[in-house]
Amino acid sequence: MSDTQTNSLAERLVARFGEVLGKVETVRGETTIEVAPSDLMQVATALRDEPDFDFSELIDVCGVDYLGYGQNEWETTSVSGAGFSRGVHGEATGRFDWEGRPRNVEMERRFASVVHLLSIRHNRRLRVRTFCEDDALPLVPSLVGLWPVANWFERESFDLYGIVYDGHPDLRRILTDYGFVGRPFRKDFPLIGNVEMRYDPDKKRVVYEPVTSVVPRVLVPRVIRDDVDLQQAKAEAADHWQEN
């Protein structure tokens, strides 16, 4: 895929759909468009059927929870009298248990459903992102009618994120256990889970209990550095290249 091709794809998308697209960008040759849930069906149908686009294959549907995007767990810029803080704080994955999980975590546009499309005829890919409008009930139209393969992908996203796909014929959990409670891939779901199971010799069966055998902890804090690490790294790589 050359750059000119993908550029023209972005341009043609804008020309075709105009105002409907929230954002169109091409980074590293990958084109992403943002579409509101109400427009998704119309856009997706056109993307599949119009010969200019001809996205005959749906490659992937993926739920994303943007809660905590760009959050640090470790302060690295401010120095106190005692040096850098050694304690890790913040509420990222793995640091809390079911009882202490973050509540009231509503934010603007938290959940998104990301679709990857592939056109076999034009040898081209496209990413379509749809942000859900309501955190409490994330709702996106289902694409099962257009690409039947969306069926399991949407069930998976529903199972793990609780995103509801409107119009899905059979929206059941798919990956988690029968009778599972919670949406495990949400960022406010503890990494250690909410229940654990063991064999109870008295009851002579497997029982589920709140997690006690694992303590939530993180070995490596999540840290975002603003310095120019990578530019520097590239320069270093160029320097060292000859030495090899």
Partner: protein, 419 residues
């Protein structure tokens, strides 16, 4: 006289059935011997790999990728590593690209050998399994020679591969089981380097594929079980998101190695086999031919790797560790080493989708980074998951034994279906 009420029978297939390839629970609604509806229940092997990956620095999840599709390990690593490299904007040195290409193809043969063996076993042909595992053993030794592990190698790293190919192929020691002429035969290819070993292997392998074909291709029972079973039209294959041999079996010439080349595939000379009818037998033929083509690619890689030396890892201390020697006298190297193994490296904010042509189809990794040392979101697009989802649409109307043929032809591995 009142009419007798006849109802469909609901049957559980698996999760303990040997033909369920692991932990597939298939709830079948049967009308006599005919399948009316197939409802696969998956997730019995769900480990939340993607969530675990979000809680770890980038490099620490490479090993998890091996455990997704645990019969094509290095291809999974390749997809994940490529996603990181995309975001970092780095590219592995050319020698590493050739090593990756070679090991991707070794992996493809490993996978197809496992597939041909287990699929034949499911359909009642015992011997093929034993033949296939004979060659699998040789290739697993290559995995072991290069990474120290027979299966879960963790060999690919962002910026290259962990280390260069070994100069000496490990040999069998004398033991109660291997001695005398037998030992000599086992070690006959192992006198030189790993490339010598692969040279000998690739010279010999086409004759081994002939042996599998002798057992199956014109075998009456094999053809009865596979010809015209599970026919997938090209339109259906695309609607169901099929990739890899499943798509090619239906006659669509689509292979990421050719269409969107990565690593060193652009320089390789090989053909893409396609099927005609889109039935189980065609997919069998496609996979067998793929083994021969992979063999060709390995040969070309071996030739190139013999002629060219060079680094196999970027000398970029933000993503790759400095040498032990440098660490002994260079303060910078020591600091880099410490930072790399305690904190990892930050990846610029952004998102990418990196796909490789894994033996089962398109294995893709969709990665979102917010600039931290851990991925914000990793989504694994597993080919087996996609293919298995079409189970109901394809098997409805088939007989019960054909379900087994279908599971075999999907080439499902539950490590990646359930993730």
């Amino acid at each position: 006289m009142s009419a007798q009420e006849i109802r469909n029978y609901t049957m559980n297939f698996g999760p303990q059935h040997p033909a369920a390839h692991g932990v597939l629970r298939l709830v079948l609604e049967m009308d006599g011997e005919t399948v009316v509806k197939a409802d696969p229940h998956i997730g019995l092997l769900h480990r939340a790999t993607e969530k675990l990956a979000e809680s770890k620095p980038f490099n620490q999840s490479i090993g998890y990728m091996d455990r997704l599709d645990y019969v094509s390990m290095m291809c999974n690593e390749h997809g994940y590593v490529r996603a990181i490299e995309n975001l970092l904007g780095i590219e592995a040195p050319i020698r590493a690209q050739y090593i990756r290409t070679m090991f991707d193809e070794i992996t493809r043969i490993l996978n197809h050998l496992m597939w041909i063996g287990s699929n034949a076993l499911d359909l009642g042909a015992m011997a093929v399994f034993l033949y296939a595992f004979r060659e699998r053993e040789e290739l697993m030794d290559c995995y072991e020679a290069v990474s120290g592990a027979r299966m879960h190698a963790t060999y690919y790293r962002p910026g290259g591969v962990y280390r260069d190919l070994p100069a000496k192929m490990p040999q069998y020691n004398e033991s109660r089981w291997h001695k005398g002429a037998d030992l000599k035969r086992l070690n006959q290819w192992r006198e030189g380097s790993m490339l010598d070993f692969l040279d000998a292997f690739t010279d010999d392998f086409p004759s081994k594929v002939d042996e599998y074909e002798n057992l199956l291709t014109n075998n009456r029972i094999w053809k009865q079980r596979t010809v015209d079973i599970g026919i997938i039209s090209p339109e259906q294959a695309q609607a169901w998101g099929m990739t890899g041999p499943m798509l090619r079996g239906s006659g669509i010439e689509w292979d990421l190695r050719k269409k969107q080349p990565y690593a060193a595939y652009a320089d390789m000379d090989f053909d893409i086999p396609v099927g005609v009818h889109g039935d189980c037998y065609d997919r069998y033929l496609v996979r067998v031919e793929e083994m021969r083509q992979s063999n060709r690619i390995i040969k070309q890689c071996v030739k190139w790797l013999r002629e060219h030396s060079g680094p196999v890892m970027l000398n970029n201390f933000k993503v790759s560790p400095p040498s032990r020697e440098a660490m002994k006298h260079d303060m910078e190297a020591l600091i880099h080493h410490f930072k790399l193994f305690t904190e990892g490296y930050g990846v610029p904010a952004g998102e990418t989708y990196a796909a490789v042509e894994a033996p089962k189809g398109e294995f893709g990794v969709y990665m979102i980074s917010d600039g931290a040392n851990k991925p914000f979101r990793v989504k694994v697009r597993a080919p087996s998951f996609v293919h298995l989802s079409s189970m109901d649409a394809i098997t409805a109307g088939h007989m019960l034994p054909d379900v087994v043929a279908m599971i075999g032809t999907y080439d499902v591995v539950f490590g990646e279906v359930d993730r």
